[in-house]
Symmetry: C2
Subunit: 418 residues, 2 copies
């Protein structure tokens, strides 16, 4: 089964928002083993939408639409598809009832244009919208299947997962098993990694091996297609073992692991607590950790010490350290890490100080970062980065490197099982 | 001039990354007054890429490619376009020299596959890559213009802005002036806003008026097409005045303003300093502020008080307040705001406490947030939110509402000029 995703919305073509829906739907289809050959974006224009549908019908079996199901005049996806397929729109009583209840619950007045959302294409399977008002639809004819999903991600994502995905799984008559495994690296560049696995990349057949670099991280995706799940896993394990032998020290996790989720797992497994004193990252390190549910068991809190005064008066960094070495220095980062660990009574203390840019700071050029880590009774250690990005890329990279170094240190100290 | 954007990369079709490049290029083309009718994503496959080019040539004058210019075997954009157009690839000495220097500067060994990046399509204008190695290209024939850009955003974005955009501006023979103005709202829903400007939406001709909702914010885009810039601005001002009369109190800014940049502007203009004590947002509020260059003049720092102990022992929240009202309460939020203001000696103190989810906390359901603000000698005030999103949506919404309430308070207190 080949799929195409058509996102409908002039706001996408004006560059006001990114097409994150296509990414989400594509990753879900990849899990089902459905190949996506094209993603298309078209504006709120009936003629151009019809043209896109015709092109997609020529090259795909399954066409998934997102956007244009709302209450406004611009929203014309279902009307256009209905006309194209020669079907009519009918009121769905269940959806209307739900919309009315939604307004009551939100304590808001229901305007007339909201009723438009309760119409669906005749003969479709209605996909319930638990997070909003516009229902989705699945239509199937001899040649194609069409799925209509709303545009807002918080409505579209649960609708796809809870309603559309089980129906798609039924539509598929799986003959082969497809298993994918992603190996996640940090601290190694894409070209360097590729050079180390060059022969594996060149001779790949089954499993296939695909490198990807994004946001400073590199991944390798191993995909096996076989007749049984066991056979697929045996093939994946073989190749993975070979890769780990060569570049295992840069691996921080697998599949949906993120640097933060991996660190969280290690901290929880070992009953370790952490605090941080952040300067250039101004809370981003702790905020990234706190994005992981359950992080409050390990992350106690910390300080944001943006100015020199706050570093000295509130955190307790010695004035002479700053006077002698500057705020962006090995000594300051290590002292920040040590002070926050002592002050907040945690096992680990982190200090991050640097120059995010665009201006230089503390006598150091943009991109200079010092990361200090104080762990238990060990003497504080530190790492220097020389980053080349813009302000907020530098801030995010500093956070990712901090987590990477924490994971590496905890592994070296024997706190990580693999 | 009609444009189409073709992003090349199987990682996009697998859903591993979002097509943020299409958003960026679209927004840049919108500024130039170039209409984008379609965005397409195609994998690292020469045949399907050729099919996409043919479709695009039928419906666009300008085709912009992004991705597939790198050193690996998967990268086949320029090879495929050259073949399609009957042109050959030639070594660009300047690019090769740059690549060799790049490796020297990074102190890394240059592998042979990197040379591939120095080849360009014969007869093109080379677009310099200041952030990476693969140069871009502009080709023009009787019917079409083709622009080839690299995939990594940090290379693509400056190349577009510094190299491609000036060339595009030259290609355009502007007959009409197109001026756009975006009005930015917070604290009002899309449907409510549309109801208040319903007649303006229905009777729009020139300027056109387009609403858009994303990430809890709503915007209205006013676009005038006229023969002179003055005339366009007169038309925009008329409509804007009418809109501000009706819903001005929800407006926080215009065009590229963000909530954080607007707050930054107000703080700097009035020489005000700010600190924050964050619980559920765990540094995200301060990190969002610090994303704005120059924020260090206003943001002094703050604390992340994730646990009750830290709130009491480090920040100085009275134990009896927590015992009586809980950590997620009006009283706790106001006390957090007051304590951090006093402790860090700033004009404004902010306290954020709440339940991000998925689990309830402090006896309150997921989505409950209390935002406290202490400003100068005013008694601390607070705001309650009942959010319905997932953990990290709730955290981000809490931050945005905090900034919204700060801007509103400072406006009510006479600190904002408009």
């Amino acid at each position: 089964m080949k799929a195409e995703i058509i996102a409908v919305g002039s706001e996408l073509l004006l560059g006001q928002i990114s097409n994150t829906n296509a990414r989400f739907i594509s990753s879900q289809l990849a899990e089902l083993g459905i190949d996506v050959y094209y993603q298309t974006v078209v504006g709120d224009n009936a003629n151009r939408l019809v043209d896109s549908i015709k092109i997609a019908e020529d090259r795909a079996d399954l066409i998934i639409f997102t956007g244009g199901l709302g209450p406004t005049k611009d929203d014309l996806t279902k009307e256009t598809i209905a006309r194209h397929l020669g079907e009519k729109l009918v009121m769905d009583a269940h959806a209307l009832n739900y919309i009315e209840k939604f307004f009551k619950r939100m304590n808001r007045v229901m305007t007339e244009n909201n009723k438009k959302q309760a119409f669906v294409i005749e003969g479709c399977t209605v996909l319930e919208n638990k997070q909003g008002m516009a229902p989705g639809m699945l239509l199937t004819n001899e040649k194609h299947s069409y799925i209509l999903l709303p545009g807002p991600p918080k409505e579209m994502e649960p609708m796809f997962q809870l309603e559309a995905k089980p129906l798609l799984a039924k539509l598929l008559h799986k003959e082969t098993v497809i298993i994918s495994q992603v190996i996640r690296f940090y601290g190694i560049g894409e070209a360097e990694l590729e050079t180390k696995v060059q022969d594996l990349l060149e001779n790949q057949t089954n499993p296939t091996l695909a490198p990807l670099a994004a946001d400073g991280e590199v991944t390798l995706r191993l995909t096996a297609k076989t007749e049984s799940e066991t056979e697929a896993w045996i093939k994946i394990d073989e190749l993975q073992t070979e890769i780990l032998n060569r570049v295992g020290k840069f691996v921080y996790g697998f599949n949906n692991d993120s640097l933060a989720s991996k660190l969280h797992e290690i901290l929880i497994d070992n009953n370790l607590t952490i605090s941080a004193a952040e300067s250039m990252t101004a809370g981003l390190f702790q905020s990234e950790l706190a994005a992981i549910p359950g992080m409050s068991e390990a992350l106690v809190g910390g300080m944001i010490t943006y100015t020199e005064d706050i570093k000295v008066q509130q955190l307790g960094v010695r004035q002479e350290v700053i006077s002698e070495f500057g705020v962006v220095s090995k000594e300051c980062a290590e002292e920040m890490a040590f002070r926050i660990k002592e002050k907040f009574g945690t096992n680990i203390g982190v200090g991050i100080t640097g120059v995010a840019g665009p201006d230089q700071h503390g006598g150091q050029p943009t991109g200079t970062v010092w990361i200090g880590i104080a762990f238990g009774q060990l003497a504080p250690i530190s790492y220097k980065l020389s980053l080349s990005g813009m302000r907020n890329t530098n801030r995010l990279r500093a956070v990712k490197f901090t987590i990477h170094y924490l994971i590496r240190l905890l592994r070296e100290q024997g706190y990580v099982k693999i």
